[in-house]
Amino acid sequence: MGNNAFKINARDNIVVATQPIKKGEAVVVDGEPLIDAVEDIAAGYKVAIVEVAEGKKVYCYGEPIVEATRTIRPGEWTHVHNTRPIPGA
């Protein structure tokens, strides 16, 4: 399957869309469909590949970058509307 997303680090709970992904389409990394997108994802944006519960951290580069302000579903766009900077970071 053609890749449309990129996983930066094995520990990450998000992947980055390398091209636009339509709602309902599979998010494909290294030829493997990981999850179906639950909304449209623009290129360069992050999409959760597992559930991230409210208050839990989003990992990118294998490091915590933000925390969820509400539960983020698998396949959901993960950005400033559902996360916030980690206090004190």
Binding site: I8, I65, T78, P85, I86, A89
Partner: protein
């Protein structure tokens, strides 16, 4: 592993053998430009400073100009001064070690035309002398590599920067020195960089300097500093300053940080060095060249043609669109990583291999284009 370089009297090795023609003050730029028009093989270095600056700037001025003249890629130096400037030619001449250096003052040499004619004679002699020198094998551990990114985009942190990180790790494994600067782009990652320092003391210093830099940016930009993750960054997909900075420091790979040096200072250790300083491309490259970097690895998302005098700058684009829309400006396209053609490791090895070819004499795009802007960090007022 070895490369072929020019051995200097102090034991260092250049990857180029340039004649540098440098203004000590902006008033001398016309003569420097005239010499370079007559002798296209010299590397002209002009700037807008050299006078009217206070104590805040004198240290960086002298360190940058001296460091550039002492860079191993420079085989000989001709300084063109006016005669009444603050950064005097004699002071600059005294700072040049182990290579031929001469200085001319326009006020003492019969004005612009006569100084130009005399400068052409001297620079032509230097070119002839350097032509006779041959490259000799040198260990890769003699290389110092500066890291830089400019015009970053959302793909910089996932393609070009991590691929440069792979190359940086390889350079450090070979015993070479790698310099990471751009402290503006370290905000939010102090905890990671601190944990990578060789000693807890060094970690504290690095953490404090990142915090200090952040405070200074805040004092200067006010509320906008909070947006140093900018609206454009957010539109591009970045969610926090930590995410943005993590992408930037990927260039440094994974090896321990061995030393923290001042802006345009000289490392005393090998391995991965952090240098104080801001992120502005030309100022950062000036400080890396002054530190002694013979090569700079420069990643870009939006695309920039800027190279640097006397130091080959290798351009690595983060995406194929930029690589293709500015043909002849980038040496390597890391966009192939998101195009699923190559892995980060493969592109990292390509960057390392290409760097060795450049060390051996292959010209970079910026060298072919003669894109060699020069500037250096100025922080104090102008009088």
């Amino acid at each position: 592993m070895e490369f072929l370089g020019y051995k200097r009297e102090n034991g260092k090795f250049g990857v180029r053998n340039h004649v540098l023609v440098l203004s000590s003050v902006a008033c001398a730029n016309g003569v420097v430009d005239a010499i370079a028009r007559a002798l296209p093989d010299v590397v002209p270095v002009t700037h807008v400073y050299g006078c009217g600056s206070g104590p805040e700037d004198i240290g960086v001025s002298i360190r940058t100009l001296n460091g550039l003249m002492n860079n191993p890629n420079v085989g000989a130096v001709l300084i063109i001064g006016l005669g009444c400037e603050n950064v005097s030619s004699s002071m600059l001449t005294m700072g040049v070690q182990d290579k031929p250096v001469e200085a001319l003052l326009i006020q003492e040499s019969g004005g612009s035309a006569a100084t130009t004619a005399r400068g052409i004679e001297i620079a032509a002699r230097f070119l002839k002398e350097l032509e006779a020198q041959e490259r000799v094998p040198a260990p890769v551990s003699e290389l110092m590599v500066g890291l830089k990114s400019g015009g970053s985009d959302v793909f910089s942190g996932i393609t070009a920067n991590p691929a440069v990180g792979v190359a940086a790790d390889r350079f450090v494994r070979e015993g070479a020195t790698v310099i990471l600067t751009e402290m503006t782009e370290m905000a939010g990652t102090a905890h990671i960089l601190k944990s990578r320092c060789c000693t807890p003391e060094l970690g504290e210093q690095v953490g404090n300097l990142i915090d200090e830099h952040r405070r200074n940016v805040r004092a200067s930009l006010g509320e906008l500093a909070g947006l140093s993750i900018s609206l454009g960054n957010i539109d591009g997909g970045l969610s926090s300053i930590t995410e943005k900075s993590l992408g930037c420091i990927m260039k440094s790979g994974t090896t321990p940080i061995t030393e923290l040096i001042e802006h345009a200072g000289r490392p005393s250790r090998r391995g991965l060095i952090i240098m104080a300083g801001p992120g502005y491309d030309i100022d950062s490259m000036a400080a890396e060249a002054a530190a002694g970097s013979q090569i700079i690895l420069f990643t870009t998302g939006r695309g920039t043609p800027a190279g640097f005098p006397a130091v080959p700058v290798i351009k690595i684009t983060s995406n194929s669109l930029t690589y293709n829309k500015m043909p002849g400006d980038a040496d390597i396209n890391a966009g192939s990583i998101v195009d699923s053609e190559k892995t980060i490791d493969v592109v990292g090895r390509e960057i390392f291999d290409f760097s060795i070819e450049v060390a051996n004499g292959r010209k970079t795009c910026a060298e072919i284009n003669r894109a060699i802007p020069f500037n250096y960090l100025k922080q104090g007022p102008t009088y």
